[in-house]
């Protein structure tokens, strides 16, 4: 077993944590993105052969440390696109462009689409599907989609591609992407047939690693804020953290964060190398999201009135986690799929 982080991984975590601590909240502008690319973080999810420096583990470290900021949600679609490209087109010119921060990409897997799914009409040679509440998709110039037997890249200008952006539950821009009988002749087919299966597995594991890492970063931040507040906030002549009933709640939150960390690590391991499609990946997403939501609800309750204000990060954390829970491919959707499949 090699589950403890290496020295390099610890250094990476520290450096991302320092960077995000200096830029709390706030949208990520172009200059910040270039800086991140310059630091090499976009290469955290892919191997040296394509110019990266890591795999699932390094990617998860970056996302976890950025998890309480707006940065995580912009990194994730790019990591997903890179993971697919590494599997099906290691020579593709998009890889260096994404890693250099010149191109914004958005990776897609079928479970991010609505219940109707993504369909390829092999006679008409078209692809259709609808993806909702995508992150980092409003400015993306390339969408990289992996299906069970086809991987393709398309640009927003193509016939039948429509995207619509709006304010999301997490108070950030979200985008619906509709592919309506998009002619395959107008998209770049990256790979077809049996070999795509591995890329789909890799992409699914990468997505699970990314979602669980973000849950981990968010829950950890909310827990630490709550712990610090309960040590400092005084009522009845003592810190409220000195009351045993409150201590037990914090202890349970701590245990929840530890379990999220474990589920995130399990997912990150699955995303390394070949990747694997396994029911445990869905369970990891469900388990991490449920636990993070518990932490967020408790963080609001234990802060009392101030926990209900927009000025503190608790509400934003809950809203972000509800979005992760309710999006297609999120915990709620996966839970229903598991039950439907076993019925």
């Amino acid at each position: 077993m090699k589950l403890t982080p290496t020295e390099e991984q610890t250094m990476l975590a520290d450096s991302v944590a320092r960077f995000t601590a200096d830029r709390p909240g706030g949208a990520v502008d172009a200059a910040t993105w270039r800086e991140i690319a310059g630091l090499g973080w976009l290469g955290a999810g892919v191997g040296e052969a394509v110019g990266g420096f890591g795999g699932g583990r390094e990617m998860a470290i970056v996302i976890e440390q950025a998890g309480a900021s707006a940065l995580a949600e912009l990194l994730i679609p790019n990591y997903l696109a890179l993971a697919i490209l590494e599997e099906v087109g290691p020579e593709n010119a998009l890889i260096p462009d994404i890693m250099d921060g010149k191109t914004l990409a958005c990776g897609l897997v079928p479970e991010m689409a609505t219940a109707e799914g993504v369909t390829v009409d092999s006679t008409a040679r078209t692809v259709s599907g609808r993806f909702v509440a995508l992150q980092g998709a409003s400015e993306a110039t390339h969408f990289v989609l992996v299906l069970p037997d086809m991987a393709l890249a398309l640009t927003p200008g193509v016939t039948g591609v429509e995207r619509q952006s709006y304010r999301g539950l997490d108070d950030r821009t979200k985008t619906d992407l509709t592919l309506q009988r998009v002619p395959l002749a107008q998209v770049e087919i990256l790979a077809e047939g049996e070999i795509v299966r591995a890329a789909l597995n890799r992409a699914r594991a990468t997505r699970a690693a990314a979602v669980t890492a973000e849950c981990c970063g968010l829950a950890d931040a909310l827990f630490n804020d709550t712990l610090a507040y309960l040590k400092q906030r005084r009522q009845f002549g003592q810190p409220i953290g000195s009351f045993q009933a409150v201590q037990h709640r914090l202890a349970d939150m701590f245990v929840a964060v530890e379990e999220i960390r474990s589920l995130a690590l399990a997912s990150a391991r699955a995303a390394e190398g070949e990747g694997e499609d396994h029911p445990a990946l869905s369970q990891a997403i469900i388990g991490a999201t449920d636990r993070a939501l518990h932490v967020a609800r408790e963080a609001i309750q234990l802060h009392g009135g101030v926990g209900m204000t927009e000025d503190l990060p608790m509400g934003a954390g809950l809203r972000r986690l509800k979005l992760l829970q309710l999006m297609p491919g999120g915990a709620e959707d996966l839970r229903r799929r598991i039950i439907a499949n076993s019925a």
């Binding site: 509440a133 009392g304 209900m308």
Partner: protein, 394 residues
Amino acid sequence: MDAGWSQEDMTFREQVRSFTRDNLPADIRGKVMTGRPLGRDDHMRWQDILAAKGWIAGFWPEEYGGCDWTASQSYIFQEETSRAGAPWLLPFGVNYVGPVIYTYGTEAQKARHLPGIVSNEVFWCQGYSEPNAGSDLARLSTRADRDGDDYIVNGSKIWTSMAHWADWIFALVRTDSAAKPQTGISFLLIDLTSPGVTVKPIRSIEGAHHLNQVFFDDVRVPVENRIGEENAGWTYAKFLLGHERVLSAEIGKAKRMLDRLRQIAGERGLDSDPFHLDRLSRLETDVLALEWTTLRMLDAVMGGAAPGVEASVLKLRGSTVIQSIAEYTADCLGPDALKFDPEFLERTVNDPPSELARNMGVVSEMLFQRAPTIWGGSNEIQRNIIAKHALGLG
């Protein structure tokens, strides 16, 4: 299951039901049913209708403008109006300060303040919590120093719901800082137009503005606006909190929210989904248990038992059950819960109902419903009360 309502109660229920059906404005009902935000005007229009009927303060004694409703009539009124989609009857005047005034106030205070509540002309808000006095309310530090026939008030109150709409605030203030915390507090009625009062908005997590912080900077308040004895305010404050907590089990609202949950689930074809049916059934069971706990406690109160720990039980469960329904309703929306824009909700507040606004209303309510487990004496405080006073622990 029948609680054995009297013939009078059943007749009264029919009256409230038909009155609400005939008189509740459709646009207000539409906003309530879809969880969209209500403006001051929405609350006031409905309350004016109730005032004209004489039902604003039904449980008050007739001599003060009420109808001498029994506890069961008050319950029926709340259940029927909320279930039909009426706005929450704002409790600050009717349920909180009104009973304090007619129980502890002078004849002059009754004559001055009660008619404005019964006629729905005066909008009240509640000045209890402070930045450093939340659960430990007795440590409040807003000061009222005597100067001739006035008090001079300095300090601030926080989490003051709807203070930006209010005309008056009733506030707990410290009049003796040497005494033990509970014994140096007085209960003052303060005109919010007085010089030195500033109301600052606080945005809550759903992006809306209900909450405020109210600052008092050398605000002169006539001594005649003090309720009861100087330094005895804690007694009146506790009397009021009892009234606040009994209201927390909003059965009518819970049933209304279950109706909406079933509708949203039905739209999505979930009504035969075993996973959904399990969750729905748990929530229905919670409401059933809450309803019968309320009825049982109501019956005890009607039999003359003093409401004690029951208020804490109802506050604890009432807030939690509604919170759970609100969250699961948003969960049923699934990806349709992901578009959320509080400014859109505010901007379109008077537009005809739309599915988008309804969905955003559901999300807004899910977020807002995190508050009731915190306010009115947090659920942690209610558990302390149960442990100490009902179980004799500590």
